[in-house]
Symmetry: C2
Subunit: 251 residues, 2 copies
């Protein structure tokens, strides 16, 4: 992570110091020694991706790309949080996913983005031209497998989200969401039990299929039960993770 300067030096465009290299994490498809998520990119692959990338920055609430827009780029989040959403014919908005560092953005269909991507916080990302990436992947079978693994990972996540969101009550959905956020934040390495909610209640509600009021009430319930403590509307303290997991029906 700290000796990637060798790589970036050759690429002045992405050569700003202390920018972590492109990164794709996933639980591998096949059996491996580490049962958790692992870095799938080798240093060579990271270098190859940097070679076709530009580092781009977005301010809060900026649209990264619009639904239906011509899909020319794929993004690999470096820092910050984004969301994707679709606009329904009747004008309603449907949040389909939240994206964190090392996630990939740019899912498209027939050359058009399937959803609008928007930064929820200041965000930096590697921006890779789709054509170049396709060429690279076609040349390097290992890299291709990386993307296959990542997509399998995303697919499993999506199915899990569906299954849990669809069957659980508001309290369980919110508990699961908090735990997911907690695990998504890179600081999970430390024993930090603080979770920040970079998105509005409205976004959470939409993502979980609830109303903003239901989110509030669920948080209230969890606080009353001693599982969490609210530190302002954007920050939570996890007090009892064991009970939280039970509330989310993970156990």
């Amino acid at each position: 992570m700290d000796k990637d300067n060798d790589l970036t030096i050759r690429q002045p465009v992405a050569a700003k110091p202390k920018i972590p290299p492109p990164s794709i994490f996933a639980k591998p498809f096949a059996r491996s020694t580490d049962p958790g998520v692992v870095q799938l990119l080798t240093e060579d692959e990271q270098a190859a991706l940097i070679a076709i990338s530009r580092v781009v920055e977005f301010r809060r609430h900026t649209v990264i790309y619009p639904e239906g827009g011509r899909s020319r780029f794929v993004y690999n989040v470096i820092s910050g949080v984004a969301e994707t959403y679709c606009l329904l014919p009747d004008g309603e908005r449907r949040v389909s996913s939240f994206l964190f560092p090392s996630d990939l953005l740019g899912l498209s269909e027939n050359g058009e983005y399937v959803a609008t991507a928007q930064a929820l916080t200041p965000l930096t990302a590697y921006k890779m031209p789709f054509e170049d990436l396709a060429r690279l992947v076609r040349r390097d079978p290992d890299l291709d497998v990386v993307f296959l693994c990542k997509l399998c990972h995303e697919l499993r996540q999506a199915e899990r989200h569906t299954v849990t969101a669809i069957h659980n009550d508001a309290r369980a959905r919110v508990a699961g969401f908090i735990l997911w956020l907690w695990r998504s934040e890179v600081t999970a390495l430390t024993d930090d039990t603080t979770v920040t909610l970079p998105m509005l209640r409205h976004d959470i509600a939409d993502y979980l299929g609830l109303s903003t009021e239901a989110i509030s009430r669920a948080l209230h319930q969890l606080e009353t039960g001693g599982l969490i403590q609210r530190r302002g509307p954007r920050a939570l303290q996890l007090l009892n993770i064991q009970e939280l997991r039970r509330a989310a029906r993970e156990i």
Copy 2:
């Protein structure tokens, strides 16, 4: 489709006549002439897959592979319908997907299947050893792209299912489900407006996050509204597809 005998003749195991070749359909990631789903496999690739496959048959209600089992094979459905489900700690069952001809089965994590796959009807499939498939994919970059496209397609489908299932009421969910089934059946080429439901109400309910009673009531509503007609518990006649799409909030 009809001249694939040249290929199968070399492979006696899969040489039974009138078995369609391996097949992977998806809307391509990149822009293409045909905006709908297209066959992604070339004849050469079909031949290569046949070379590493065995055709297997399952009777109704047979388990194809169990959740947590060592994942050694990937399946490509030839005919019939399957479902995948997870068992929760409390014994509840959660249907995560239904699989139709040309779909892929065998999603795994760390070498273990993430869900149980079960045949809902008599089912035939190409059974491909994972190792052989991995070798093949690593050798043929084009084939690799095929799987990437298919996975993207599945991911988009999963996100759409989540978004629609989570926000709509019972009537809309059931209407959407019926339309999805209708489009999934290969007979969609003809102007056939009959849909058969190979799964139990319980399975549909689970998949849509409803109760079996709610499914019944939604079907009753749709029938009263003149959108469909029930022909026994397992068959539906679509009377007004335009209205069905509106009911499913697709328009």
